[in-house]
Structures are given as structure tokens and as C-alpha cells.
């Protein structure tokens, strides 16, 4: 009886430690962005508010079911360096979340995906590596738009 109790306890311990606590922690810490329609071009608005120059914005819709339109923005910082960020909007929470899953599945080796992903309402922003400098400036403005 003691053996069964210890074994059962051990298995429960693993399940709790490995599964529930880490996943529970990230769910608590990183609140999910609920799906809602954010009108206009939130990335352009945030960039302009943060003083980043929008060099170009080319229409580009990704081949996702439910994708309602997107753009490839080219930004220029104060040093004249150019960065591109792709955005995509979706017509439902399901289609948006499916795109997030596909993004997460493109991990490099056993690590993270090369691109980062920012979720704002019905929009996804795909951020290529090396763009974090400009994103550091845009992000606070994006947070204001998210909380509107």
C-alpha cells in the first residue's frame, strides 16, 4: 500500500511540476490577447507616433484561411537603417489563433521560431530578427493602441 501511495504521489508530482506549474505560470504571466477588431493600421499609427518613418507599405495577404488583408511595412530609423515587418489581419479568433500555431511550429532546431510575433486584436505582426531595436520604440505605442 505504501509502495502504491509513493508511486502515485511521485507520478502526481511529476505531472504537477512538469505540466501544470510551468504552463500555469506562463498563462498567468502572459495574458492572451482577446480577439477584437482593431480598425485602421495600428502598426503604422504606432510607428508614426514613436517617430519612426514609414518608408513603404505594400499589400500582401498571407495564404491563411480567414486572412482579410495584410501589409509589408518598411520602416526607417534615425540611422537610416531599414526594417520590414509583415502584418496580417483575420476575420475570426479561430483563424488568427491557427496562424499563431503555424508560427509557433516553425521553431529553429529545438528553440524558438526565428521571427517574433505580436498580437494586437485581430492583427498579427511578424517581426524578423534584428528588428527589435525599432520594435522597442514602437511597442509602447502599440500597447496604448491595445488598451484603447
Amino acid at each position: 500500500m505504501n509502495e502504491v501511495d509513493n508511486s502515485t504521489w511521485a507520478v502526481m508530482l511529476i505531472l504537477i511540476l512538469i505540466v501544470l506549474l510551468p504552463i500555469g505560470w506562463i498563462v498567468v504571466v502572459s495574458a492572451s490577447e482577446p480577439y477584437h477588431v482593431v480598425l485602421g493600421e495600428p502598426l503604422r499609427e504606432a510607428a508614426e507616433n514613436s517617430g519612426i518613418t514609414v518608408v513603404s507599405a505594400v499589400n500582401s495577404t498571407l495564404p491563411f484561411p480567414g486572412a482579410t488583408g495584410g501589409k509589408i511595412y518598411t520602416f526607417s530609423d534615425e540611422n537610416g537603417d531599414l526594417f520590414t515587418i509583415q502584418t496580417q489581419s483575420f476575420d475570426s479568433a479561430g483563424s488568427r489563433d491557427a496562424a499563431i500555431q503555424i508560427h509557433n511550429a516553425q521553431s529553429l532546431g529545438k528553440g524558438k521560431p526565428v521571427q517574433d510575433l505580436v498580437v494586437v486584436g485581430n492583427h498579427l505582426f511578424f517581426i524578423k530578427p534584428g528588428t527589435s531595436g525599432i520594435m522597442n520604440k514602437i511597442l509602447p505605442e502599440l500597447q496604448k493602441i491595445k488598451s484603447r
Partner: protein, 484 residues
Amino acid sequence: MSEEAAAPKKAVLTPPKVLGIFALAMINVAAVLSIRNFPSMAMFGWQCIGWYIIGTVLFLIPLSLAGAELATMLSHKGGGVYAWCKEAFGEKGGFVAIFCEWSNNLVWFPTVLAFIASTLAFALSPALGSNSIYLFSVMMIAFWGTTAIAYFGENVSSKFQNYGVILGSIIPSILIIGLGIWWAMSGAVIVLPPFSISQIVPTLNMSTLPFFATVILLFAGMEMAGFHALETRNPSKDYPKAMAISAVIIFACTVLATLAIAFVIPANELNLSAGVMQAIQYFFNAAHIPAAVAPMAVLITVGGVVSLAAWLIGPAKGLGVVAEEGNLPPVFNRTNKYGSPVAVLFIQALIGTFVSLLYIFLPSVNQAYWILSAMTVELLCIVYFLVFASLIKLRYSRPDAPRPFKIPGGMPGVWLIGGMGAFAVIFAFIVGLMPTGAFTAKETLFYVIGLLLGTFLLSVPPLIFLKLKKPSWIETGNKEGELK
């Protein structure tokens, strides 16, 4: 009286020796070579060469050499990294190493399973890639099917990996490389700027530094063959050759296929937002063979399954050895007539299923999953640090132990190789804590704390089990097979 003398005599299995050089090499290739890395790295253009060199010099070569020496030295012991680290640092060190390797898989499984399902959807109907029921169903078929293959032991799983890695990783790589050579030779425009040495130097700044951790571990998995030492016909001779062959295949296929994609697809059009198949489709369309996309998707799916199998089976075998030695409760210590650790496989499959369920059906988990992916990097850094430390420690603690393969250069050579590898993974661990740019300061703090806490939780159970360990955890008569 010792614990072993007091405990009842246990049956000892003699696993069949079915693995040779080729099979061992294919295990490593299956675990490491991944088509989905190529478009991701091609985004960096010529700089991908620099990044690959960093990963090769600081990790692939040291791990290959360390694995060769440790595996041949301890070829009579099962458990792979568990045996190596236990020999150097005792049960705690070995158990922590193998448990970190096993638990990082549990977090990684849903991402590779989702990749398999979404890639297969590309061949069937791309719209399926957005269907949660389809995704979860295919994920479970792949996951439990691979677990079933592992159930039937080394003979079956090695055949599966041998054929699967050729079909799913090597053939697609050669096809992409061939098309890249054809593209270059045909006079078509190579979208990369003219080559110069300065072009390959990676941009290293605060924004790309977190990427260093991912690149270092790009070649994680070269130790997978070590878990199969007991099933190898002649490990002292076969293992070093297998390591060399697999390292060359992996490096050549990875660099050349990445460059082939970079030649054809402009960086600003190389977008992984819709998955690597989008890049592959662009590649084949540009080469005027769009009909090859669907078969390629099937082959890449096979490659994903084989990669899953390599990582699913190896660490589970290692944990099975831990259970055999009485360091886990008896519930974990069940093997079948094929010598497979069925209890570990089953528990692993249950946990992986549950985590996959959360990943697919809970948006909050889905959106935050990249944090768990960052955790896998941290856990693997712990594993590899212990491996490199074991390499060095054993030269001092067991200087006269037979080493059929020995890293050349005496102690300076071992310190160079082990030190380089250990430094790289320590550095990777630290920079892996750095969030990438899309974070506020408050989120950064929570991210780092969460990452450290999660890594701690996923690595600490061995210490608890060793505290709880009882002599009765070593059982008899729960295995089928020959008695030695």
C-alpha cells in the same frame, strides 16, 4: 549490508545487437537535420554561413568529439547522457542531465507535432492547417504511432529511422541543393549580393544576441546515438565513425540547402509567417516545378516524424535505465519483451498528449507557447553543460579507463573541446534569458522570472526522487527476455 545485496536478485536483459555504423549515424541525422531550419536560416543571407560556423565550431564539433569519447568509454553502460554524467558526477548529476533532456521534449513535442500536421496539410489541403480538429488528430496519430514504433524495440525503430531519415531529410536536402546548383549554373539571378568574406560575418548586437542561443543548439541531438550503445554491435569502433559521418552529412546538407534557398528567394520575400512550406513552394515555383511541392510536403512530414522518433525514443531509454537502477518509483520500471521502457513511453505519451491538447485548444497557451520553447533551450543548455563537464571530469577521475576513442591533444585538447562547448552553452543559457524586442520592461521581468522558474521546475524532480528513493524500488521479474 549494501542495498544491492539486500534487494532480491534482478533479471538482466541482453538487448540484441542490431545497430551498425550506418544506423547509428542515421539516428543522429534524424535528430538534428531538419528541413524547417533551412528557410529560417536563409533569411540571414550570406550571414547564415557565419552563424553555422559559430554553431559548428562551438557546439557541433565539441559535442561530436565529447560524445564519441564518452560513448566508447562507457559503451558497456546504457542510458546515454545519464551514464556519462553519472560516471562523472554520481547519480544526481546523471539523473538531472537525463531528466532535463526528457522534460524538454515534453514541451517541444507539440511544436514538432504541429509542424508535422501543418506540413501534411499543405500536401492535402492548406485550409486544413487552420482546422484544430484536423491538427490535433494528425498530431495524435503521429505521436502515438511513433510511440508504438518505440514500443517494438530497437530492431523496428532503427529500420524506421534508417528509411525515414533518407526519405524525409536527406533526399529533400539533396533535391533542394541540386535545384540551387541548377539555379546558379543556369544563369538565373542569384538574389544574394556578391560574395565576400565580410558578408558572412553575422551581425552581433543586443537584438541578435538572443539568437545566439538558438544557433548554438541548432545541432542539438548529436548525442542521441549514445542512448543506443547497448544495442550497437561494436560501439568502440562504430560510434566514432558514426559521429563523423553524421556530423559531415548534417553540416553539408544544412549549409548547402540553406544557401540554395537563399540564392532563389529574396530576403524580403522569404517569409515564414505561413510556414516553411510557403518558402519551399516559392522555391519550387521559381524552379518551374510546382508539381513537386505536394510530394515534398509529404517527404518533409516524414522527416518531421523521424525527428520526433529520435528524440522520443532516446531520452525515454535513458530514463528507463534510471528506473532500472531503482532511482525512480517502480511504476516507471516496466519494460517489454523488446526491451522498451514501456512505462516511461506511456507516461511520456500521456503528458505530451495533455500538453498538445492545451497547445491546440487553449488560445492563452498557444499565444504564450514561445516562452515554453525558450525553456527548452535553457534545459538543453543544462544537459550539454553536464556532458562537457563530465568529459573533463572523467579525464581526472578515471584517467586510466579504456578510451577506444580519445580526443587528441591530451589534457589541453580535452580542456579546449570541453571548455569551448561548456562556454558556448553557458553563454547560450544567459543570452537565452534575454527576451527579444517585443516586450515592455515589466513583461521582460516576468519573462525572465517565468523562464527561470519553469526551467527550475522541469529540472528539479530528480533531486526529489533521489530523496524519496527506497531499496524496494529495484524490482525483480518485471521484465521479459533472456536472463544473463
